[in-house]
Symmetry: D2
Subunit: 338 residues, 4 copies
Amino acid sequence: MLKVGVIGTGMIGQDHIRRMTTVLAGVRVTAVSDVDTAVAASVGARTGARVHSLGVDLINDPEVDAVVVCSWGPTHEQYVLAAIDAGKPVFCEKPLATTQEACLRIIDAEVVVGRRLVQVGYMRRYDGEYRALKAALGRGVIGSPLMMHCTHRNASVPAFYEKEMAITDTAVHEIDMVRWLFDDEVAAVRVLVPRRSRNGGELQDPLMLLLEMSSGVLVDVEISVNIRYGYDIRGEVVGENGTAALGNASPVTVRHAGTDSRPVPADWRERFLRAYDVEFQEWIDSLSAGGQPVGPSAWDGYAAAVVSDAGVAALRTGDRVPVVLADRPKLYAAEVAA
Amino acid sequence: MLKVGVIGTGMIGQDHIRRMTTVLAGVRVTAVSDVDTAVAASVGARTGARVHSLGVDLINDPEVDAVVVCSWGPTHEQYVLAAIDAGKPVFCEKPLATTQEACLRIIDAEVVVGRRLVQVGYMRRYDGEYRALKAALGRGVIGSPLMMHCTHRNASVPAFYEKEMAITDTAVHEIDMVRWLFDDEVAAVRVLVPRRSRNGGELQDPLMLLLEMSSGVLVDVEISVNIRYGYDIRGEVVGENGTAALGNASPVTVRHAGTDSRPVPADWRERFLRAYDVEFQEWIDSLSAGGQPVGPSAWDGYAAAVVSDAGVAALRTGDRVPVVLADRPKLYAAEVAA
Amino acid sequence: MLKVGVIGTGMIGQDHIRRMTTVLAGVRVTAVSDVDTAVAASVGARTGARVHSLGVDLINDPEVDAVVVCSWGPTHEQYVLAAIDAGKPVFCEKPLATTQEACLRIIDAEVVVGRRLVQVGYMRRYDGEYRALKAALGRGVIGSPLMMHCTHRNASVPAFYEKEMAITDTAVHEIDMVRWLFDDEVAAVRVLVPRRSRNGGELQDPLMLLLEMSSGVLVDVEISVNIRYGYDIRGEVVGENGTAALGNASPVTVRHAGTDSRPVPADWRERFLRAYDVEFQEWIDSLSAGGQPVGPSAWDGYAAAVVSDAGVAALRTGDRVPVVLADRPKLYAAEVAA
Amino acid sequence: MLKVGVIGTGMIGQDHIRRMTTVLAGVRVTAVSDVDTAVAASVGARTGARVHSLGVDLINDPEVDAVVVCSWGPTHEQYVLAAIDAGKPVFCEKPLATTQEACLRIIDAEVVVGRRLVQVGYMRRYDGEYRALKAALGRGVIGSPLMMHCTHRNASVPAFYEKEMAITDTAVHEIDMVRWLFDDEVAAVRVLVPRRSRNGGELQDPLMLLLEMSSGVLVDVEISVNIRYGYDIRGEVVGENGTAALGNASPVTVRHAGTDSRPVPADWRERFLRAYDVEFQEWIDSLSAGGQPVGPSAWDGYAAAVVSDAGVAALRTGDRVPVVLADRPKLYAAEVAA
């Protein structure tokens, strides 16, 4: 029974606590902490977890085997570093840290320890459709991949959403996903600007993000964040001899009033509910045997940050922006493929 | 943490033990028992569960809060009755018992206790597609249901499979499902015999089972058990103003060699893997709060047995066979809808 | 340039005149006739065709190479016999005649002539989807056919529609289609009566028609004639090793307001528009070379009448009604396959 | 009965002669001509059409009401100009002419005449799926269009195919289609170069063509010309509130050997067979009433040439290349929308 402490008991943190408490096997939430101590106290009272005022105290609590970081992004670095310092596995919601430099500091710390402790919360790698897509590529029937077409559509975004977030918050999932899917790094980024939807007011929406992989595979990503009709994630890989695409499964089809129709998910919670469950169960299982995490690594978190920064630069300048990564430490040798 | 004892550690039993040990929350397998004591001992050694020679001893073990019965069908009645006698909740894999009379004896025992203890393992009620179908009916857009078309296709069946099993083992899932979906009892049964597939040797395969619900809804079920291409479960409800059908979700689509194709599940394990997980998690959750099970009841197990018997008679005689049920005890008043 | 005379200038007749005048190649409408002489005169004036008061005069007009009969059903026999008598090819809209006996008289007359002159208007054989389905069966990948599931749904029917018409006017298309698809005769018929839709008032709607082919293939046909959402024709053949189904093609898919939807045809005109064009073009082409028609024959018209009568008897009695056909004359030896 | 002369009796020319002779209504091929006089003579003998040694003689033949030009591209200009000079309608297969300047000379000649005589053979405007897509946009449910995703995939191309042809011969269909679909001109072009397929040897395949419409709508076109699995044309318009896509209809679906699959067309003949029929029938109908052609105009042919040239420049330089069109004569005021 893995004992987990959760730093950050906001919406995402509470959802992960619910997941570890009522859905998954082999785990117990033993401690919580939040900058809003009242919320932390309430969650602790409800779940029986100890409440710490400081995340660092939670990390050092002997009743905590592993740490989950769901706090505000700018605080991620310190908690991840503290967990590494304590020699405890840490699952950090995306982003790993808010700057490339911070990500590199985490990598450095982990390399010093010499074994993987950090996992970053890119849940698409755990989605059944993406896994079936990767498996289809692996069977080789479509030949080597050459292109990929992606769409990332949100019904709406909140008022505080700014145009760079289309890259840093929204398409960052595709950035991690293609690195994993193709087992390859992104080499350059472009952003094109289509006609603007009036649904987003002054926001530039949609955008088209173009990612060139090191292999030459060209990925286009439509990012539409106010398209109203639903949350729609699609992807099709174009190979030399065929294509493979996400199934866009739907549980029911209704014929009514002149149409044959299938529901589209309302939001990411509905679409990726199971992926979060699988992500956490596999993380728990990897640790329970005393092992290292095998999911997205600190290197993956760093690479996502670098590509994301290049995307923001591309959006601002209109140019093709090369992606320049630091040397990859041996610790992460095979990580993209994990 | 619900403490569960499992009677029967064959393939299904071991799968449920795996599920309760490594997939689900809030449960622990504390005891096992099997007629093959060596197998039971091995499972006990692997999981840390106590091993009982006799199922009855397991039921009465104070470290067992609830019982799961996965033993050979003819033994179900005695274990379920013993659990009721011990006042312990019992999850019994289908069938509840091998005769209508035995099912009624279980009902009688449970009615004497005055609260629900028994749940029967009809897992389709927990499948996401069937639930979406029931929800679609509930929204009313297609109007009152009038007909339902079902297919139940297996790639192959083992050599010992006999023609009555198409009703008693295979279509019994549809029998329970339509009772739940329409919140209604089956009133009469017919079986039609199409041209025989050579894949099944002398076996009469396929069959068409026709179920008349009390409301008049007519359900046709194609039962094909050697169709080779895969395991394919489909259902479409025809309403007054439209239809609603299972989505037949597939995780990936591949375009290759002149076709656009989607994989079909290989077998029931693949198709209903998640339904089993949800079935057990909800059973555990219903008991953990000290409550009664809310899934398929002893009444549902009895009704399935009666309809199944009528189906076998219809298969033998070629006639339309009415279904005659005993009076439903108040304890099960709303059970079909559960 | 085939010169065609059209008897009956009602809705269907005018549509075929439009087709032969503005859509198809190698044909000219040279004469028309209708019991309503004013309508015939108006059509004649518009198209330049001669107008005959009597159908028989039209048939004997030397400017008429071939005859199309679109008049009221009870008049079909006399016109078809007169055309045979005149040695002219005749395309007769369904039904060939209103009784089995009348169909046999037509067969007798044609057999005396010793070559095929009659074609009956069963247009499904010319639909691209049904032809693709037959071709798929012919490739043999699904093995021998064992069952077929059909749906025939109309959005609504007129007030004069009576319950027998579900067999004689609606499902008669499926009756002809399965004979053609499987190259086999229907051996027996059953009709089952589901719960009644309130959309049809007192009309018994829907019905389920069951056809047993001589080979043992079992065909079920859902007939729903007031289902409102559209006109929906589907069919799936169950073989030993797989299934093949109509594609239910839709030209566009729209994602909007929470759904991914495709339009369903509004009525049979929309669904089978092209099939009628192909039917007539192939009829014209077969005659232009001085040959015999190769489409549905007088035998097919007769067989449809016998099966349809059996269906009506089955509907009235609730029984399984065997289909008893006369001996098939050699002239029609291979006609089902045509 | 429109009397048509066909210049060029190669593969395409013979196919159009077949179409006008055996498929369509209201047309007769009265004259043919080809640089290969033996082929022309053979076609003439088979169809009864007169044979001319020179295209110009065919154009001036009084038995020719309208001209179809299917000869080698570099000869198009002279024949189209000669037809305009003779005051006869002319249907010219794409391209209208091989240079922008030649297209402008045709426009100038037609403007002098003061009425439309020229139609260019862009057949996608006549395809049922593209028309349904345009109709869906017209209904307004998805809001204003913002982006469009297209794929244009060929199973293979001949050995003489060069990389510029991906723009000038292949994607030129999309260039015309988006101008028609959005009733708008292309404002700028980019070409991106993905990883190269080994199926095409040294050929750069695939390519991604990006078209910016004057309205700002951004169109991406995947051009894959050796993808082996089939001919696959897809398109999805992204609007403010939803999307609309080609249906990719398939006539049959087969379940066999672990998959549920639909056939993909083998080539453009199969995919666009009906579109060619409709294109010609509508051209014939527009002329038969003594009217002007309403299909793709000389302006459309010119605009396609300019955009195509910009595409070739973009492919060579890697730059974004603006599209600069001459002023549009009033004669073509509403032509894009036609």
